[in-house]
């Protein structure tokens, strides 16, 4: 066999500048997103939202809406056959509220109608008798004993804590202590494709949901739970996605679509949120309040860090508990601080719902520790890069959360690179170039890190299938959706590399419970690594199938079969992929293989941490030039030097694009 066995220099696809395989369809608009499908006999679905951020529901009267001509069905909590709740970790969010509403994004009723206008009119005819209750809008009030209790177990959804060493003693002996409170606001993903999709139930009772999402199999489980329906009879198609950034990780409209589809006599139902509805009901980034106290010695050695972070998850948990846990795991930066006392709270309020959003809590704490690093550097008269280099942990050392970091650590090298970059070296020159007398320029840097994958206690596996098709092409199937980052191209590159064929021979299908294996979420920076490794596990199985079949066809031993580019050969004869398919088909044998991959994990969880540590972390330093208008406060980011420790780069073109996107 001649296939190149993991010598990166001879790679043809992996690590090269490869054009996105989905780009041709994207630049013409031919690609169909889930919200682009059109069906002739369709009906429109709409969701009735709560009128108050916190209120008791006394009565829901749908009679007027039911009677409106053109209305097909009006559904309330009474029409939910199964469990009236959803949520990735704790299903505490009602599909349709029954007794109480906890935020203005809450759903109270669903309507399906012949036109969007009729559906909207029907919503206005549903009479809900509310009794407004006291509103909890602030996390600290929510934690107090005088606040109304929003959920049966109180307003604290989760609490995580990590303690190491003796912070009290360290603060006593420290030469310098900085202490501040950092607030960060709610932020919206604002994906260009608002939440939406299609639901349809066929004559046999098979339900198909077309809706962009970040984990089709989990969406299917959540739908099945609410419908009390066999998940095998529900198909979820969730890819491609018109942007998500974490905001389509949780259920959006899938359950609404499925419920409505059960009442529309087989007609497809469409929901597509307006931007306003997306703002009201969609997921947001957790607003954080982070109190941080950091101590150092005169020479800059960090001694202690105390962190108390509160995240406002709004009315429901979604991934709030995990967001706060990840924030605490990362709250000391990529530094080795011997004494730490870290705790985080995920708090329920009547504000909009917060959940997964790129960065997943780490952004909010990074701001704190990196600001403190600059303040300590300034007070001690130490160069801010020197201070960071002095305190970063290296591979094999103990991190601030107290685990030995076994995988590679790139912080030091990203800092060295930052030190040498033009923007940093010549920062005084750049700072002096303000565009107006009332504007000021500044150059600063920050370094950060981020866990890859799910952490301890959560499944983190990849699965891929490769099928040889009648036309001699290979269909690679991976559950992880194409969210925009380009994982489809990565999967094709990996398959093309190992199968030794042109990338045009590879087709990729993603996010479809009928066509792809369960391979986990497209979140947590995991899909290239976990899905890509699953493809890399499946591909040798395909190579084996191809060679064995070719050997059989030519009646030659395997040692005589050569894997050449775009075909195989043996005994001077060329064997095409198509002829192998034909042979297997005629002999009624499978043309499909699978590959599975488990992400490596740490063995022991840090007690009370909610999933820390991760086995792998990514590291990154940014140097930034900003200009601030001292009259208005308006800030322009003029230049960013982004220095990622990217590890093995799968696609140089995609890396550049992604790096810019992350800014």
């Amino acid at each position: 066999m001649t296939y190149n066995n993991a010598n990166p220099d001879s790679f043809k696809w992996v690590g090269k500048r490869v054009k996105r395989i989905d780009a041709p369809e994207k630049v013409t608009g031919e690609l169909k997103y889930m919200t682009d499908y059109q069906f002739d006999n369709m009906v429109w679905g709409k969701v009735l939202r709560a009128e108050y951020p916190h209120a008791k529901i006394n009565k829901i009267d749908t009679e007027g809406a039911q009677k409106l001509p053109g209305v097909i069905c009006v559904l309330t909590h009474k029409d939910i056959p199964g469990f009236n709740g959803f949520g990735i970790v704790v299903p505490d969010q009602p599909v349709l509220c029954s007794k109480v509403v906890r935020c203005t994004g809450d759903a109270v009723a669903l309507v399906a109608a012949e036109t969007l206008e009729i559906a909207e009119q029907a919503l206005s005819l549903i009479k809900v008798d509310y009794e407004p209750l006291e509103v909890v809008a602030d996390v600290e009030f929510a934690m107090s004993s005088s606040a109304p209790q929003l959920h049966p177990d109180g307003n604290i959804h989760s609490h995580v804590a990590i303690k190491n060493g003796d912070t009290k003693k360290a603060f006593q002996v420290a030469d310098i202590i900085v202490e501040n409170t950092f607030y960060s606001p709610r932020q919206m993903h604002a994906f260009i494709e608002t939440e939406g999709g299609w639901g349809v139930m066929d004559e046999q009772g098979l339900i198909t949901i077309r809706c962009p999402g970040q984990y089709a199999y989990r969406d299917r489980m959540q739908i099945a739970r609410s419908l009390a329906y066999n998940p095998e009879r529900i198909r979820v198609i969730s890819s491609p996605i018109g942007g998500a950034f974490g905001g389509k990780d949780e259920i959006t409209v899938q359950i609404y679509l499925a419920l409505l589809a059960m009442h529309t006599n087989g007609r497809p139902v469409k929901i597509h949120y307006s931007r306003e509805e997306s703002v009201i009901a969609g997921m947001k980034r957790h607003p954080f309040k982070v109190h941080m106290k950091t101590a150092a010695k005169r020479d800059g050695t960090l001694l202690a860090n105390e962190v108390r972070a509160m995240g406002d998850t709004g009315a429901y948990a979604s991934l709030g508990g995990a967001v706060i846990a990840l924030a605490i795991e990362h709250s000391c930066g990529p530094y080795k601080i011997p004494n730490v006392d870290l705790e985080g709270f995920c708090i329920y309020t009547n504000n909009g719902i917060a959940g997964a959003f790129r960065g997943f809590g780490v952004n909010q704490v990074c701001m704190g520790i990196e600001t403190h690093m600059d303040m300590i550097a300034e007070k001690l008269g130490i160069d801010p890069i020197e201070l960071r280099k002095k305190n970063v942990y290296h591979q094999g050392e103990v991190s601030s959360v107290g685990h030995i970091v076994k995988s590679s650590v790139g912080t030091f090298r990203t800092l060295e690179t930052a030190e040498k970059c033009d923007l940093w070296k010549n920062r005084e020159k750049y700072k002096a170039e303000a565009s107006e007398p009332w504007k000021k320029r500044g150059v600063s840097l920050a370094t950060s890190f981020h866990g890859i994958g799910m952490g301890i206690g959560l499944p983190d596996y990849g699965a891929a299938s490769i099928e040889l098709l009648p036309d001699g092409k290979f269909l690679v199937g991976v559950g992880c959706e194409e969210i925009g980052g380009g994982n489809s191209t990565v999967y094709a590159q990996v398959a093309a590399e190992i199968l030794n064929c042109d990338i045009s021979n590879i087709q990729v299908v993603q996010g479809d419970t009928s066509r792809t294996l369960d391979g986990g979420t497209v979140t947590a920076s995991r899909s290239t690594y976990t899905g890509g490794r699953a493809v890399a596990t499946a591909a040798p199985n395909m190579v084996k199938m191809l060679t064995e079949t070719a050997g059989e066809m030519l009646n030659l031993p395997l040692s005589k079969i050569e894997i050449e580019t775009n075909h195989l050969s043996g005994g001077g004869e060329k064997i095409t992929y198509q002829s192998i398919y034909q042979y297997l088909y005629e002999n009624r044998r499978t043309t499909r293989v699978e590959g599975h991959f488990y992400l490596p994990k740490e063995k022991e969880e840090i007690e009370g941490s909610g999933g820390a540590p991760h086995h792998l972390y990514g590291y990154l330093t940014h140097v930034v030039l900003v200009e601030v208008d001292t009259l208005t406060g308006e800030t322009d980011v003029l230049r960013v030097v982004s220095i990622p420790d990217a590890g093995k780069v799968m696609n140089r073109k995609a890396l550049k694009a992604k790096q810019r996107a992350e800014l």
Binding site: G29, E30, D36, Q38, I192, T194, P240, G485
Partner: protein, 163 residues
């Protein structure tokens, strides 16, 4: 209901629809041309950009009645696989599309912009020209580069072949 005549991507269509239906909905629902997207529904994001008589416009705030008798070009009309326009090829080459949902609107805006100029535009010019198009994935740098690349392709095509 009102019957309107539209010339879309070169083909004439007679469509019966409420006169207050948006041009965007007519394109997507009546003609199945779904490259143009609705993102904000109020002419702020540019995802629905089409050319109306060669001028870029947000089709979500144009009523079907207003479009009666006009000539419309959507992203599908700029080019379809495998016959791509230079601007589309440049977007592929420069990696200027990610999730891709905003891409057709940007392609149309860029096409209108490039149709009206005869030079390789500066970054600020492109920023102004595409100021009405929002993208959440790319950070715009590669989009701007792609427009420049397309402009230089166009100008090299116009140059006489050197013998």
């Amino acid at each position: 209901m009102k019957t309107i005549q539209l010339k879309v991507n070169g083909a004439v269509h007679s469509i019966s629809c409420p006169p207050a239906k948006s041009l965007l909905d007519v394109l997507r629902e009546d003609l199945g041309l779904t490259a143009s997207k609705e993102c904000c529904g109020k002419g702020e994001c540019g995802s629905c950009t089409v050319l109306i008589n060669d001028e870029a416009a947000c089709s979500c705030i144009v009523l079907a009645g207003q479009a009666d008798g006009q000539e419309i070009i959507t992203c599908e009309g700029v080019g379809l696989n495998p016959n791509l326009d230079a601007i589309q090829e440049s977007f592929i080459e420069e990696g200027a599309t990610q999730c891709g949902y905003c891409t057709p609107g940007i392609i149309v805006s860029a096409k209108a912009f490039l149709n009206g100029i005869d030079h390789i535009p500066a970054v600020d010019e492109i920023k102004t020209a595409l100021g009405g198009n929002l993208c959440r994935c790319t950070g715009y740098t590669k989009i701007i580069k792609a427009v420049q690349t397309a402009a230089s392709r166009n100008s090299s095509e116009k140059e006489p072949v050197k013998g």
